[in-house]
């Protein structure tokens, strides 16, 4: 019971923190702040997914989902970096 309340608090706290990072995504100066912030949101979402899995007692299934999320987050960041590199060459 204590652990459930603890993880619930952590999860809600992380959800609030996501909005602070979202501010950087929307208003952040420069494209690199935005890319870093999007990556940070992905990492936070991963932890939130695992906490939801613990709260619903289905951690074995949510581990699968969070692994896919981490993977696509990595590939997405790589694609954005490659795109920026290409834009730099064109100028």
């Amino acid at each position: 019971m204590v652990m459930t309340t603890f993880f619930l608090g952590i999860g809600v706290g992380l959800c609030i923190l996501v909005f602070f990072v979202l501010y950087r995504v929307v208003f952040g100066p420069g494209i690199f702040n935005r890319v870093a912030a999007i990556s940070a949101i992905g990492t936070k979402t991963l932890v939130i997914l695992l906490i939801i899995g613990y709260l619903y007692d289905r951690i074995d299934m949510f581990v699968d989902i969070s692994m896919v999320y981490a993977l696509l987050n990595f590939i997405g960041t790589l694609a954005v970096a490659k795109y920026l590199e290409m834009e730099g060459e064109r100028k």
């Binding site: 590939i75 790589l78 694609a79 490659k82 290409m86």
Partner: protein, 150 residues
């Protein structure tokens, strides 16, 4: 977008990571009826592994393993598996994709036939989604023109 990355860390990481991503995608497809996932999700992960290879190693090296031609063939094969299993159920006097009727063909109880039928359909969906994901990324990043070989 699909030129060879000149960073050795990225290239080595992708080379090590791609087989594990594909193994995980096969796990997601195979366990689609026990856990979250299924044909579409597993196909997307398979496609993501191909996109990772294309981003890091360029078209010249990816072409050996999976080309545009392969994408066309694989999406057709996936659609054929899906609609073929569906039509096979029609042949045995059931509805479209009514897997229970396949029990006479597979010589198993209807419940097991349903499990096998869903697995087959998910394999087809996975193939088609993988090929179409690869094709969409390829077409967007090259705007329809084949790059010169490197």
């Amino acid at each position: 977008m699909i030129h060879v990355s000149d960073d050795i860390i990225i290239r080595t990481l992708a080379r090590i990571l791609v087989p594990f991503i594909q193994l995980y995608a096969l796990y997601v497809i195979m366990h689609g009826h026990y856990s979250p996932g299924g044909g579409f999700q597993g196909g997307v992960i398979l496609g993501a592994s191909m996109v990772l290879l294309l981003i890091t190693h360029g078209y010249g090296e990816t072409k050996v393993r999976f080309s545009e031609r392969g994408a066309v063939i694989f999406s057709s094969i996936g659609l054929l598996i899906y609609s073929g299993i569906g039509t096979l159920c029609l042949v045995f006097f059931g509805n479209f994709l009514d897997y229970g009727k396949l029990s006479t063909l597979l010589q198993v109880v209807p419940a097991h036939a349903r499990s096998l039928g869903i697995l087959g359909v998910e394999l087809g969906v996975g193939f088609a989604v993988m090929a179409v994901m690869f094709s969409i990324f390829f077409d967007i990043s090259t705007s329809g023109e084949l790059p010169v070989d490197e």
